[in-house]
């Protein structure tokens, strides 16, 4: 008797926990149908960009200054100025490949400029601007590695990738026999490569160049085997913001400012 009562009590608690969690899910969905992001930006006089903090050349937090630096950051600043002049202050929030779509959807960031590839799948979740950078997926290996191209990724080899990136999906298609291990961010994946946890690290060449620059005992091999056009992502249904961003991007390209920023960061 005593036991049954207790069991029922615990079952109830568990069920309540489940309902509570499910309820949270519902709340989130309801805030999703929110107002226009562009209007909000103008009202708050600030635009929040989601950028990487761990990606050399694109978005990297400089430990000595505490500032985030890179191509994505400079481009974001230039875009903000182009769109709103000095009225709107650009702010930066760290995103990772894993968190960026979630942060857009719950309005923690207004636009994601974070080495994000435009894909058909992602277009269902977010809206993209025009391409702002053309990258392609490649492989980073230790110099002298037996892996020299994607064709060398046979059974028994291990490739390191980052959770939530297109490259981890692509590599499973292009080299189905290889084992893929996925890490939280590029810094951890690169550390794992240095520690010999895998034969190669795969992601966009633009990011890999940054790693090879940091540690010259690693090199890119085999060229690129995909096309990775980067776009700026905004929350679904904000066409006006996308149009504004596209216009600003185009005028930056026309004025030569875009090339200036690009040449500053991307040497290859």
């Amino acid at each position: 008797m005593f036991k049954t009562k207790k069991f029922v009590k615990m079952a109830l608690i568990t069920a309540m926990a489940a309902i509570f969690l499910a309820g949270c899910g519902g709340d989130k969905a309801s805030t999703d149908s929110s107002k226009d992001v562009l209007a909000q930006i103008k009202e708050d006089k600030k635009i929040v960009f989601g950028v990487k903090h761990d990606t050399r050349l694109f978005g990297l937090k400089n430990p000595s200054t505490g500032e985030v630096e890179g191509f994505d950051i400079d481009l974001s600043k230039a875009l903000a100025e182009e769109m709103f002049g000095k009225d709107v202050k650009p702010e930066f929030v760290e995103v990772t490949s894993k968190t960026r779509v979630g942060l857009l959807n719950n309005s923690k960031v207004d636009a994601v400029v974070a080495t994000m590839t435009i894909t058909e799948e992602r277009k269902k979740e977010v809206d993209f601007t025009d391409v702002y950078f053309d990258a392609g997926q490649s492989l980073l290996v230790k110099k002298g590695s037996k892996v020299q191209s994607i064709d060398d990724l046979k059974k028994g080899t291990t490739v390191l990738a980052v959770k939530g990136s297109t490259s981890s999906i692509n590599i499973r298609e292009k080299a189905p026999e290889t084992t893929v291990l996925e890490f939280e961010n590029y810094a951890e994946a690169f550390t794992a490569l240095k520690a010999g946890k895998g034969d190669a690290l795969t992601t966009d060449d633009s990011i890999l160049y940054g790693m090879a620059e940091e540690d010259p005992s690693f090199e890119l091999v085999g060229g690129t085997f995909t096309e990775e056009p980067y776009g700026i992502a905004v929350k679904k249904g904000n066409k006006e913001l996308v149009d504004e961003l596209n216009k600003a991007l185009k005028s930056l390209k026309d004025s030569g400012k875009y090339d200036e920023i690009k040449d500053k960061w991307i040497k290859n």
Binding site: C24, G25, S97, K163
Partner: protein, 212 residues
Amino acid sequence: MLDFSILTTNMDSFLEGLKITIIASLIALLGSFILGTLLAVMRISPFKPLNWLGTAYVEFIRNIPVLVIVFFAYLAGNFGGMTAGTIGLTIYTAAFIAEAIRAGIMSVPKGQMEAARSTGLTYGQAMRIVILPQAIKIVIPPLGNQFINLVKNSSLLAVVAGGDLMYQGDLISAKTYVTFDTYVFVALFYLILTIPLSLGVGYLEKRLARSN
């Protein structure tokens, strides 16, 4: 409402993760119990160097975040993510178990040891026959809590690509973009493991209290 298609279409991944979480937790549980008991005995040993060694281990490990220990285990050794994660968890949990067991032994009145020794038992015999059986009763509730913590901490395997429940959740949410709901299911899977443990600990606690 929750998107149950996430659960049904990714059931294999969830179950694979659950399996690895269970295996890693069980191995770490066994390992940390053995290592922890050893450390506890060292810490109360009258032989000073052993005592120091045990104390140093406990103080050192207890004051480092378990995430850092898991990283060290992964990067320093030639192990895969799951093995390294399990080793890291064992090293970490052992320090807490050692403290729980030591506290249990210390809480047995001193007179018990003295009386046992005066009947002619050696230190080891007295420990085994008289002290430890009494200590175990006191130790079981805190040990149970450590084991529950261990199961939850095993989610750290995810950061070293250990293939556990949390790792699978990361991959599923990255693939489907249904982040929130995926982690709700991950939480429910953890509850399936921890609620029975929690109940079991409560039950043992009651039974042991009765036998006093």
